[in-house]
């Protein structure tokens, strides 16, 4: 390299510097004079296919409004075919964007987490060439009628699940009422007992599989029912206690037992606890409906048990005796039926079924100290709607109450927490229209 080359390189470098300097100064000069900028807004409809791969589809015709920090409107525009709109703003300061949802096409709403308002602030970053951009993401509208219909099917399936558990629990309650006249307010606690004993064997102690632990829970509940009958109700019946007294006693027993559960478990059951198996279940899709293995087992088992109990009540001698005592205890005993033995059988059956229902409910929703108590009101609603004293009425009532609670969530999805109120409302309405319940019999006077 000689002196001429060096002088050439220096001249070129200086020249470049000069150009850059002029350009820079020119651009800043330009900025100083023309402080305006642009905001580019893109609106996309994003869909994910079955594999989770996202595709973006441009959404034209969507109006975006721009206002400044004081709220004064600045400009607005609509997206073009590419889903893009470039909005000019006078200064490079802070602006508010507002997507006019009314201009969204049908079937498209803002994606979850996406709000219609956004802030574009030039002061935190000038953007490239005085342009800042913002992207709006949209998603499918699940509230469409076609979506709604699919949701209805799912709701009906949920209703069946709910009805199944209720039905299992309340057959016993209805039979107890029918044969002894007692409104057993302690039934909820028997439900809880089945769930608890199963839990103890499943999560603690021998850690049996749920399907092995459940029978123990059922037996425990059956024994509890029989114990109550033999140890409490029968001796009192002999002394001639009134039905009202027995009902209030059952309330006292229920309160005591509920808190015993808390006490003995050292408050372990204050929050929901779950079984080791069948808790978190992968959902299968059958057409539009989501269901899992546990639900299928619950429904199938419930139907099987209900059929078995129905057969028992209708076809076997014991079952007929139960129905006879349920209908007219004095007459039944006059025909030679040992009413006390039948009543004991009813408490065993009712208790066992309650325990089974408790396990089923616990498997799906977890169990707590007051699981049974929370169900109790629904159980009473079910047997009252169906007609007090009639076990088949209990089934009808369970279906109605189960369906009513789930349908409520479909009709009023934002009012989920009131679904129990819906069941109770169904109870009141049924009693206004048909005071004896659906399968109940009107009493003759005299």
């Amino acid at each position: 390299m000689n002196r001429t080359h060096i002088r050439l390189i220096v001249r070129i470098w200086l020249g470049l510097m000069a150009i850059v300097g002029v350009a820079l100064s020119a651009s800043s000069a330009a900025n100083a004079q023309d402080t305006g900028g642009t905001i580019t807004v893109n609106v996309f409809n994003q869909t994910k296919d079955a594999k989770g791969v996202a595709t973006k589809v441009a959404v034209p015709g969507v109006t975006i409004k721009v206002s400044d920090d004081t709220g004064a409107a600045v400009t607005s525009g609509a997206t073009d075919a590419a889903g893009k709109v470039v909005l000019k703003v006078p200064t490079q300061t802070k602006f508010n964007l507002d997507l006019d949802v009314a201009t969204l096409p049908k079937g498209v709403v803002l994606a979850s987490g996406q709000t219609e308002k956004a802030v574009v602030d030039f002061t935190v970053g000038a953007g490239i060439g005085g342009n800042k951009s913002y992207n709006y993401f949209l998603g499918k509208d699940d509230r469409l009628t076609t979506g709604r219909f699919k949701l209805l099917l799912q709701t009906l399936v949920n209703g069946v699940k709910s009805s199944a558990v209720l039905a299992i629990c309340c057959i016993g309650l209805s039979l107890i009422y029918g044969t002894t006249g007692l409104s057993n307010f302690a039934h909820g606690e028997i439900v809880t007992l089945g769930a608890i004993v199963t839990w103890l064997l499943n999560q603690e102690g021998p850690k049996l599989h749920l399907l092995l632990a459940a029978p123990f829970g059922i037996v425990a509940s059956a024994l509890a029912g029989m114990g109550l009958e033999r140890g409490v109700w029968r001796p009192l019946r002999k002394r001639g206690i009134s039905l009202t007294s027995m009902m209030i006693m059952s309330i006292g027993i229920a309160i005591a037992v509920r808190y015993v559960y808390v006490f003995m478990s050292n408050s372990k059951f204050n929050r929901a606890v779950y079984y080791r198996q069948y808790h978190a279940q992968p959902e299968w899709s059958i057409g539009p409906i989501g269901i899992n293995e546990r639900d299928v087992i619950v429904i199938v088992m419930s139907v099987a048990v209900i059929l078995a109990v129905s057969y028992f009540l209708l076809r076997t001698r014991q079952g007929k005796a139960i129905r006879a005592v349920s209908d007219n205890p004095d007459l039944a005993s006059a025909t030679g039926i040992n009413t006390n033995k039948i009543i004991l059988m009813v408490w065993a059956l009712g208790g066992g079924l309650a325990g089974l229902g408790g396990v089923m409910f616990g498997a799906a929703h977890g169990l707590q100290w007051d699981t049974g108590f929370n169900l109790l009101l629904l159980l009473f609603a079910a047997i009252t709607v169906g007609g007090l004293g009639n076990p088949f009425g209990a089934l009808v009532g369970a279906v109605i109450v189960g369906m009513a609670t789930e349908l409520w969530t479909w009709v009023f999805p934002s009012f989920l927490e009131y679904k129990n109120a819906a069941a109770l409302g169904a109870l009141i309405i049924t009693l206004i229209i048909r005071p004896q319940g659906i399968l109940g019999r009107k009493e003759r006077l005299g």
Partner: protein
């Protein structure tokens, strides 16, 4: 073991403003159940009307508290009429379940998020007692009686509560002994007999519901004035069941029944709790009085509820006329 504290806690609980509230709620229920034979299991709903009837207008809308009391009155009457229209045509077995249902529906809606703007939702409402505090002639420091500290506001509520209770109890006493009360007694025995004598049973039952409901609502108001907070959890079915326990304990159908019953129940309830709290306390390295394997300071709180439930069951089985009742006049349905 601080026996003085245990006993004074119990005694105070038996006569405090809170006790008066329960006496009123139970007295209202006694009109329904004891005097008319109506199995109202929704008395908690009436108490809630009283509670939220004072809390909502005063704390949310800054109403005059006496105007709010009119709201309570109207609300209780409306609820009673509503309950009556729905249930009085039904058999008594159904009455219990439907009244529980109605009370639960009220509680569910009061608890709901959508009504949080009105009822405070699950958190409830506060700040509706200033007017009562201002009315108190006692200094806020209050007094200490035996081992029990009572602040001035609560002392005022206690005194004014007992005066209110005396007035209401006298009115109830006069009513129950009048021909009106006699018809109720007849209805409790046998409605059809009373009908055959020309009395409009439906109207009497309705009046009984209204009377007991209004008294129960006043009790609910006193309850939250004492607690200084109105929360849906306080108006669950447990409240109704405790009221029943108090009525049965003290003697069904007698005006003094709920009053004595509440005193006995609350004394025992609180005594048991205080006793267990003391007996399971571990302080300064000392071992608690009761062995840890039996009960600890973590779970002693449940025992009072267990106790309450057992008392109710045993009472109904073996002494349904209550502690002071007369077996002949045993006002329990011996159907």
């Amino acid at each position: 073991m601080n026996w003085a504290l245990i006993f004074s806690n119990g005694l105070y609980a038996a006569v405090s403003a809170n006790a008066v509230a329960y006496m009123l709620i139970a007295s209202g229920l006694n009109v329904h159940f004891g005097n008319t034979g109506l199995l109202n299991f929704g008395q908690a709903g009436f108490a809630a009307v009283g509670a939220y009837g004072i809390a909502i207008p005063v704390s949310q809308y800054h109403w005059n508290p006496f105007a709010a009391m009119l709201v309570i009155l109207v609300g209780a009457v409306l609820l009673a009429v509503g309950v009556g229209l729905l249930t009085l045509r039904l058999r008594s077995d159904y009455l219990a379940i439907v009244t529980i249902a109605i009370a639960e529906i009220i509680r569910i809606f009061v608890n709901g998020d959508h009504f949080k703007w009105l009822t405070g939702g699950n958190d409830g409402l506060q700040g509706f007692t200033r007017w009562m505090e201002n009315a108190s002639p006692f200094s806020t420091n209050g007094v200490k009686i035996w081992a029990q500290k009572i602040d001035g506001y609560r002392l005022w509520l206690l005194v004014s509560g007992w005066i209110l209770l005396a007035i209401i109890a006298t009115a109830l006493y006069l009513l129950i002994r009048s021909p009106w009360g006699r018809v109720l007694k007849g209805i409790r025995e046998d409605e059809d007999a009373v009908r055959s004598l020309g009395k409009n049973v439906f109207a009497f039952k309705m009046q009984s519901l209204v009377l007991g409901g209004v008294v129960g609502a006043i009790g609910g108001m006193w309850l939250v004035l004492d607690k200084q907070s109105a929360q849906p959890g306080d108006f669950a079915t447990t409240l109704t069941f405790f009221a029943y326990t108090m009525i049965i304990l003290g003697g069904v159908a007698k005006v003094k029944g709920p009053i004595i019953g509440a005193m006995m129940f609350l004394f025992l309830f609180t005594w048991v709790d205080s006793f267990l709290r003391e007996a399971t306390k571990t302080s300064a390295g000392k071992e608690p009085v009761l062995p840890k394997w039996l009960i600890t300071d973590n779970n002693y709180a449940q025992v009072k509820y267990i106790f309450a439930g057992v008392v109710l069951a045993v009472l109904v089985a073996f002494r349904p006329q209550g502690i002071f009742g007369d077996k002949k006049e045993q006002a329990f349905d011996v159907r």
